[in-house]
Symmetry: C2
Subunit: 224 residues, 2 copies
DNA sequence: CATCGTATGCTTACATCGTAAGGAGTATAT
DNA sequence: ATATACTCCTTACGATGTAAGCATACGATG
């Protein structure tokens, strides 16, 4: 009987957690379309249908991926001044989204907000940080959406743009595009080079600074 | 022979344009998952495979949807002051995204940037507007990403959140959620009511104002 | 220890998807 | 009139999510 046991024992027992982790790993490595019940099963040495003993359906796995990613958020160390703390937090969030390039596609699908405790900790952290600026509770709620929206949207644009290739390659593409443009698009032609020239990091900081400055000014104008 | 002709003639000839329009209509009415080659065909009184005479593949149809939506952008009338013009443009863009609730999911998929002339007109418009604030060309490029990211990200959050139901229903959900929260989440508990209380419109304006104020301050600090 | 319910995994099967291959009919060019 | 090209249809294939049912192994109870 020991052999019977060992035949089973030499593989870890399946759990929802292991399934979700595996799915995330596959997604990061080969993209969302590679995340398939059969594929996840194969990765775990199991048939696709076996997953259903631990998971309601595929969507539940995708929900799990969202929770897992959220829970991976690394809380940045606080800085001396508020603006810098805020920047660090925003960078950490963008960093996380970029580490799992397809996760924004999951967020974009209508699935309800993530509810697990682990995945709410980053939210709590962000709210606490925003409120520490001196905003009222009400403005804190609104600022949360402003920063959250900005960061997520920025990452989407970042992924969606030319995305691949070196900076030089990008610049070339932009030059060609600008050259082929009708007169009608003179502004686009003027500005286009900077799309490539300004790295994504710099662009991110720019918008972030706009938001931060906006918050600081608002706090000055009407303290909580 | 007239009869033979008429048998065919009584339905519009298939074109890429009609296919894309139909696909968008289906998507708006029943969501992205309803957009199927067979379904689009049925809607046009045609078999699925017939579509391939006018369209490379399904992805090309989805690209077409993105272009079509972009080209639907309604340019707002200019206002007396720059901030208000900017607000109108941002509202128009958000409005458009909300009119086609699943289009952000398409944008979020890695597909390259939309290149058709019609769909670049809104970009040109936005750049022209931003530059009119007094920003340098370089800062204009960056501000474009800031505003674009914010608007798109905001709409995603807006869709993803509780989304359905009246304001009262939302408020109730938030109350229940807050009540069930561990101590650890005191800030979330404090702020949560305002997530529901502040309507999405008000929240959008808040973040928008942050960005606009940021831009104005930057222009004042370093004119182009 | 025997047994029996419960959990876990496997096999098979089905509807639906995107689309490859090729046939039939019509319109246009020669 | 004949050939060519285009449009649309039929059929078929592999992949997907998952329903249904069977086999096995484990843990609790007698």
């Amino acid at each position: 009987m020991t052999t019977d046991v060992s035949r089973k024992a030499h593989r870890e027992p399946l759990t929802r957690e292991r399934i979700v982790e595996t799915a995330l790993r596959v997604m990061d490595a080969e993209g969302l379309e590679a995340v398939t019940m059969r594929r996840i099963g194969r990765e775990l040495g199991v048939e696709a249908m076996s997953l259903y003993n631990h998971v309601e359906d595929k969507e539940s796995i995708l929900d799990g991926i969202c929770e897992l990613v959220m829970s991976e958020f690394e809380f940045p160390d606080p800085a001396e001044d508020w603006a810098e703390s805020c920047r660090r937090a925003a960078r950490a969030w963008r960093q996380l989204l970029k580490q799992h390039p397809d996760v924004m596609r999951l967020f974009a699908e209508a699935r309800g907000p993530v509810r697990s405790v682990d995945s709410m900790r980053p939210t709590e952290f962000a709210l606490r940080l925003l409120r520490a600026s001196g905003l009222s509770d009400r403005d804190t709620a609104q600022a949360f959406h402003a920063f959250g929206g900005y960061i997520q949207g920025f990452v989407i644009m970042e992924m969606g743009s030319i995305a691949g290739g070196t900076d030089e390659a990008q610049l070339k593409v932009h030059e060609e595009l600008a050259a082929a443009l009708p007169e009608e698009f003179s502004t686009l032609r003027d500005v286009s080079p900077y799309f490539a020239e300004c790295g994504a990091d710099e662009q991110f900081e720019f918008g972030l600074d706009l938001l931060i400055r906006g918050v600081l000014e608002r706090v000055r104008a009407q303290p909580a």
